[in-house]
Symmetry: C2
Subunit: 228 residues, 2 copies
């Protein structure tokens, strides 16, 4: 539900390769197929009841989305997201979503902005109900970011974030259950961004969004440092 991608793969797509691409991606993201595990073509083909041809096409797409690593004649493995790579993603998100917020402040419709504020209202109630675990774990966070990116109207920007980076972020959350204490802070930062967009202040919206993502990255850095 929260994982609304640009394309709609959820239902029955016309080609098997596309459908199984989405299925394997979901299995990887949700941890059903553990990170770092080898992806045997015969095994996967049998699991999804298809031949190796379409499966290999799906693997090629997974390779392009950087969810699996493939080495010729050796096979494919699910990536193991190292700490550095995770932080790299946040750097890119800071740049890209900052720009998205700037443009969204110019281009988002009043109705979309109202919707966005409604979403934040709902999030505020959830946080107040003290079950703020849901805010992060149910990925309401990504929902917010998703709408801003959509609001930019830049198709390629939407594509990069929604089809690549967000899946990696979700994969990370499913692996290490997000027990962040940043829920309240993050919500407040979201509201600031939304306000800037509502006031059509692109410059401020970008600045706030970048600050927000940087803060998330720092929280992760702290957690990673504390774990060892």
């Amino acid at each position: 539900m929260a994982s609304a991608t640009a394309e709609s793969l959820d239902e029955e797509t016309s080609t098997i390769a596309d459908r199984v691409f989405g299925q394997v991606r979901q299995a990887i993201v949700e941890g059903e197929i553990p990170a770092g595990s080898k992806l045997s073509e015969p095994a996967l083909a049998a699991r999804y009841g298809i031949s190796r041809g379409p499966l290999r096409e799906a693997m090629r797409r997974l390779e392009s989305t950087n969810l699996v690593e493939r080495r010729p004649n050796l096979g494919a493995r699910v990536i193991t997201l190292s700490n550095d790579e995770l932080l790299e993603i946040y750097v890119i998100r800071e740049a890209l979503e900052g720009m998205a917020a700037r443009i969204a402040a110019q281009r988002m419709s009043d109705a979309a902005i109202a919707d966005l504020k409604g979403l934040l209202e709902q999030h505020r109630r959830e946080v107040a109900r003290a079950d703020w675990q849901t805010y992060f774990q149910k990925e309401g966070d990504l929902d917010f970011h998703f709408r801003i990116v959509q609001g930019s109207g830049n198709r390629r920007l939407i594509d990069i974030l929604c089809n690549d980076l967000y899946h990696l972020a979700r994969m990370y959350r499913c692996q290490f259950g997000m027990k962040s204490d940043r829920a309240a802070d993050a919500l407040k930062e979201h509201e600031l961004v939304a306000d800037a967009i509502a006031e059509r202040d692109g410059e401020l919206a970008e600045w706030l969004m970048r600050r927000h993502i940087r803060a998330s990255r720092r929280a992760i850095e702290r957690r990673l440092a504390g774990e060892r």
Copy 2:
């Protein structure tokens, strides 16, 4: 030569699909396969002397890099980069390369910075020799951007820019021969960015890089407006 990608596909790669992926990509980028043309699987397979299996895998990769559009049961076509999509790419480059310049100012080695300055020195001589066509047409421009991005050390950032966006930029240049009169301006802007990086001023480097790419985008906007 200027098209040094992250992976080295130029030589003989172990798998056919990877090799023909690079070949078709080059053919598309350089205009050998015209934009908007249909890509028939049997025809391409015959042209490269391979079977349709590996070819389809290559097409899947081309689809992921957004160089071809594919619709189920209908086949694949080379994308036709509309004016809007071209401008969208510059927006993303502004965000991403700005961030790259910021990080490069922190992480680039002194030797790499010296190399960068040497490259600009060479470009200055070319521009002075009045054959400044070469500066843009021979893609010295992309060379500069390429080094900055490399200097960021962010692998995913490098991947997005070098394997997706730069090929699209090159494709655009091959289609509409770049007759820009911005060569001198662009070179000066490049030098300012390099100076900021040499002084390890990340904030300034990002600001200058964004301003530079925005100026390039505006030049294209003007050209597009003047053409109709």
